[in-house]
């Protein structure tokens, strides 16, 4: 049974980002110029082609888009100015929508209004909680701490794990990829290593400083999560933890600030166009770091009791981040990218096993 073409898929994809799928005339320059393409896993042309023809299943089964770190070389050299780099960005958003069983990711990518309403609802909810708790510092901070723990747990079990399994289903199971069992295990260490270092992006020609900045933000963010959620940074008396918290907070907001400036300047291919999800991601991460930093500063200077509004802001930022941006926004790219490498390696092992490689 052959595939039926679908001219409407490209129209749908247009809602997920900039660039025109029509521009590509399939010369293959983008695939060949990319430092990350390998003989067995080709992108971005193949994905663009799948979209042009409306081969939705083919697109959904593809891990290629996640392997791209958007150095922008393909866009700079594209003979038809089709901007494959940005098109891959849109494909990643679209794939996020496909993987997400709730449908919210797709909604928030396409509709700024829906996203605004979501943010507003969270804001009202947090204020309502404050009201219920009588706007009392200690109670609120305790609530905040618990809230963070529950949200993380809920996200993982209800959203992220099912979505990653969905991705696994689409890319491996449905495609009947038969990788040897040991490759599942050996690949796992790769997965963890890639997740934290994102070292594949070093192969891109964007320079190692960008990678370092990105790396420090990832490390800063994860440590911040750890110190606040599991070490209860805001309430701890341990000097080491306090200082660690300050440092990781600083890392997060200083470097995200640089990312924001970079997006404003629009000098590099990556930053020439910014989707609203890109803006929200960097700005909220920045706010997250900044508000956490100031809250702890106010705690240390005993000003927090009289400035509870500050903690409220932090809580709102955290809640919006945790409930909306992490599960349904750009944050998931961090996981999907790492799993894509894992799945790609499985595919490669399967090919090797079949003797096709």
């Amino acid at each position: 049974m052959s595939n039926r073409v679908n001219p409407d898929l490209k129209k749908e994809l247009r809602k997920f980002g900039e660039g025109d799928w029509n521009d590509c005339f399939n010369c293959g320059n983008c695939t060949a110029i990319c430092s990350l393409t390998e003989k067995d896993i080709l992108f971005p042309r193949k994905e663009i082609r799948a979209i042009q023809m409306g081969l939705k299943n083919k697109l959904a089964s593809s891990v290629g888009p996640w392997l791209c770190y958007y150095c922008g070389e393909c866009s700079e050299t594209c003979p038809r100015d089709a901007n494959p780099g940005e098109l891959m960005m849109a494909v990643r958003r679209y794939l996020t929508k496909i993987y997400d069983w709730t449908g919210l990711a797709g909604l928030f990518y396409r509709s700024k209004l829906a996203l605004f309403i979501g943010f507003l609802l969270v804001l009202i909810a947090v204020i309502a909680v404050g009201y219920v708790k009588g706007f009392e510092t200690e109670a609120l901070m305790e609530f905040g701490h618990l809230f963070e723990q529950y949200v993380i747990l809920a996200l993982f079990t209800l959203i992220i794990l099912p979505n990653i399994f969905h991705m696994f289903w689409l890319t491996i199971v449905k495609q009947k990829v038969k990788a040897p069992v040991f490759s599942y295990i050996t690949g796992f260490w790769h997965l963890i290593w890639n997740m934290f270092t994102q070292n594949r992006s070093l192969k891109c020609e964007t320079g190692s400083f960008r990678w370092l900045e990105h790396f420090l933000i990832v490390i800063g963010y994860l440590l911040l999560l750890f110190t606040t959620v599991f070490l209860n940074w805001f309430s701890t008396e341990n000097n080491f933890i306090i200082w660690l918290g300050y440092i990781v907070c600083g890392l997060v907001f200083v470097f995200t600030f640089d990312f924001i400036i970079d997006r404003l300047r629009k000098k590099r291919e990556v930053t020439k166009f910014s989707h609203h999800s890109d803006w929200l991601f960097v700005i909220w991460l920045f706010l997250l770091g900044l508000t956490a930093f100031i809250v702890r500063l106010f705690v240390d200077t005993n000003l927090i009791d009289n400035n509870l509004w500050l903690y409220m802001i932090h809580l709102i930022v955290i809640a919006q981040w945790g409930i909306l941006l992490v599960p349904f926004g750009k944050w998931t790219h961090f996981l999907y990218r790492s799993f894509a490498i894992y799945f790609a390696n499985l595919k490669k092992s399967a090919l090797k096993r079949e003797g096709k490689l």
């Binding site: 010369c27 695939t31 060949a32 110029i33 003989k39 080709l42 193949k46 003979p79």
Partner: protein
């Protein structure tokens, strides 16, 4: 047209972000006042996705005029609407501004006339006929490539005097540099040199080599052209082309004819079959001219007072009735695309360099060999080394690329196939790879040639090579084989870049001097892309060959003869049309009224 022929005008405002366009609203307001015109629309106000709705708006009309830019993009919409409204679709008239050269704001009056003609139901071509004036029977042809040669011969064979002006020391142009021509594999020199000799010996052709146009004044039929005769420093009526001067000359320069693959002397003959077959001195590289010391050529020359090293440039003025511009092209500078490493890796060469390399009269006597450094550090093709064993030809270098030239250069696919054949012919055991985007084998016998090359064992792969790196002394190409869905990392010994064609650097200067226009892609603009590809809006000036847009030799020949036909027509009639660009709105409209009677 009768008074009761109710007419509607649909204005297409397709500006594409371009601001320097005619003032459509002004024209529309003017048109609205005309007695027949009952309604005016702007494309920006109309939903172009609802034919039925628009059909209801034209129920009371008899005729519909589509005016403005890109009128063709709405024609079918309006035709459908006319039919739905029960009207005869033949009553649609198109008045496209671009078609008649009303491109910029300055052309607003002309565009107004275009619309007015349509309202009167008169073809614009019939109304925009400038008056006639007497014509001087002599003709100037600028450019001595195959286009100029052909045009000159056609006119001269009609017993008319032609000045053939050529910038370099010989006629022949790019064609003389080619080894063989596609698809028949005729040797280019064998078919070209007889024509060159014919030009050189033709009693009606005055050959002016090493000359440039300084200025053009006057009007159609009577142009005064000032020509700079650059000092050749060799008296060509005395030179017997023995070559001893060149043999002894210590000054060296890069050989233009060999596409820079070798050196020539400062006193030189561009190539052995040059016409005129005489030497000349390249002042920039002549030691005497530059430093006042040397003069060896004068001492060895066996003809009295043949070489005059102190000769100065001079200017002459000629009067001509017609000018044919056949200035040709330059090849794309492959250095502009750094990722292909031209200029960095010695064995990444251009197609033009390969043409010289495979040519028996070329720098290596027709041997394809590696480019290496000589003792002085110059890159040279040296015959002593072993031969390259694998080749890659990359199409569309600088063409079909938004970053460089958007247009297709029309000849590269075919010449690349030909070069692949020549490589296979010289080195039958070599591997040849060709990377293309679309194989444009469109001419007579071209597709058959493509099939033949495939059968010869050339690997033809669809995919644009993205980059070239050097690895272990070989060149590594990275390409996606689009059709077979794989990434190819191919190592080869030599890469040939199929460079596209570009307008020459002096194109804008020339256009200004002659009062003609250029199209968006930089080539000279024809009067009408469909039915007058050689005419211009300036009377007595025609364009021929690649300077109007890339084309192959047979198409160039046809166009050159076409240009000559316009010249001969004016000479036979003794009269020539003045410039269309000088026609006023009033004149066009009065012509149109005259015509409609």
């Amino acid at each position: 047209m009768g008074e009761n022929e109710r007419t509607g005008i649909f204005f297409c405002i397709n500006l594409n972000g371009n601001e320097d366009v005619v003032d459509i609203f002004k024209i529309a307001k003017n048109a609205e006042k005309k007695p027949n015109v009952s309604v005016v629309w702007y494309s920006s106000d109309i939903s172009l996705s609802d034919t039925k709705k628009f059909a209801s708006e034209i129920k009371n009309l008899k005729r519909l005029i589509i005016a403005g830019y890109k009128t063709g993009t709405v024609k079918s919409f309006l035709t459908e609407a006319m039919v739905i409204a029960g009207k005869n679709p033949e009553n649609i008239l198109m008045a496209d501004f671009n078609e008649y050269g009303a491109n910029t704001k300055a052309d607003t009056e002309k565009a107004k006339a275009v619309v007015e003609c349509a309202i009167l139901g008169v073809p614009f071509e019939a109304a925009s006929v400038p008056g006639e004036t007497s014509v001087c029977t002599e003709t100037l042809v600028i450019g001595g490539g195959i286009a100029g040669i052909q045009a000159s011969l056609e006119i001269a064979n009609g017993n008319q005097k032609v000045y053939l002006l050529e910038r370099t020391g010989t006629i022949g142009g790019h064609m003389a540099m080619f080894d063989k021509t596609f698809p028949t594999l005729d040797c280019a020199a064998c078919i070209l040199t007889p024509k060159m000799v014919e030009v050189g010996q033709h009693p009606n052709i005055e050959l002016m080599t090493y000359c440039e146009v300084k200025s053009v004044e006057g009007e159609p039929g009577n142009y005064k052209v000032r020509i700079l005769k650059k000092a050749k420093r060799v008296d060509i009526s005395r030179c017997i082309a023995c070559g001893i001067c060149s043999e002894k000359c210590p000054g060296k320069a890069v050989s233009e004819f060999d596409a820079g693959t070798t050196l020539r002397k400062a006193i030189y003959i561009p190539f052995p079959q040059a016409v005129p077959n005489k030497y000349l001195i390249d002042a920039d590289n002549c030691i005497y001219v530059q430093s006042g010391k040397c003069g060896i050529c004068v001492k060895v020359c066996m003809v009295d007072s043949c070489i005059n090293l102190d000769e100065k440039d001079e200017e002459v003025e000629i009067t001509v009735g017609n000018i044919i511009v056949a200035t040709g092209f330059k090849v794309f500078d492959a250095k502009k695309i750094e990722r292909f490493g031209y200029g960095k890796f010695p064995n990444v060469i251009t197609s033009l360099e390969l043409e010289r390399l495979v040519n028996a009269a070329g720098p290596t006597g027709g041997n394809i060999c590696f480019r290496t450094r000589d003792k002085k550090g110059n890159w040279i093709f040296s015959d002593d080394n072993e031969k390259p064993k694998s080749f890659a030809l990359i199409h569309c270098i600088g063409s079909r690329d938004e970053n460089y030239n958007k247009y297709c250069s029309r000849v590269c696919c075919m010449y690349s196939l030909k070069l692949a054949h020549l490589i296979k012919e010289k080195l039958p055991d070599s591997d040849v790879f060709e990377y293309y985007i679309d194989m444009r084998a469109f001419g007579k016998g071209y597709e058959e040639f493509y099939e033949r090359i495939k059968e010869e064992g050339v690997n033809i792969i669809r995919g644009k090579t993205a980059k070239i790196e050097e690895k272990n002394g070989q060149l590594l190409l990275r390409t996606e084989d689009v059709i077979n869905d794989r990434l190819i990392e191919q190592k080869v010994d030599m890469v040939v870049l199929a460079v596209g064609l570009e307008p020459r650097e002096d194109t804008s200067e020339m256009a200004e001097m002659l009062g003609i226009s250029r199209s968006d892609d930089g080539w000279f603009l024809e009067a009408n892309s469909i039915c007058d590809p050689v005419g211009t809006y300036t009377g007595g000036i025609t364009i021929a060959g690649v300077c109007q847009g890339p084309k192959d030799i047979p198409d160039t020949i046809a166009q050159s003869s076409e240009a000559a036909s316009h010249v001969l027509k004016s000479i036979i009639n003794g009269k020539i049309r003045k410039s269309i660009k000088d026609l006023s709105y009033d004149k066009i409209v009065s012509n149109a009224k005259e015509f409609s009677k």
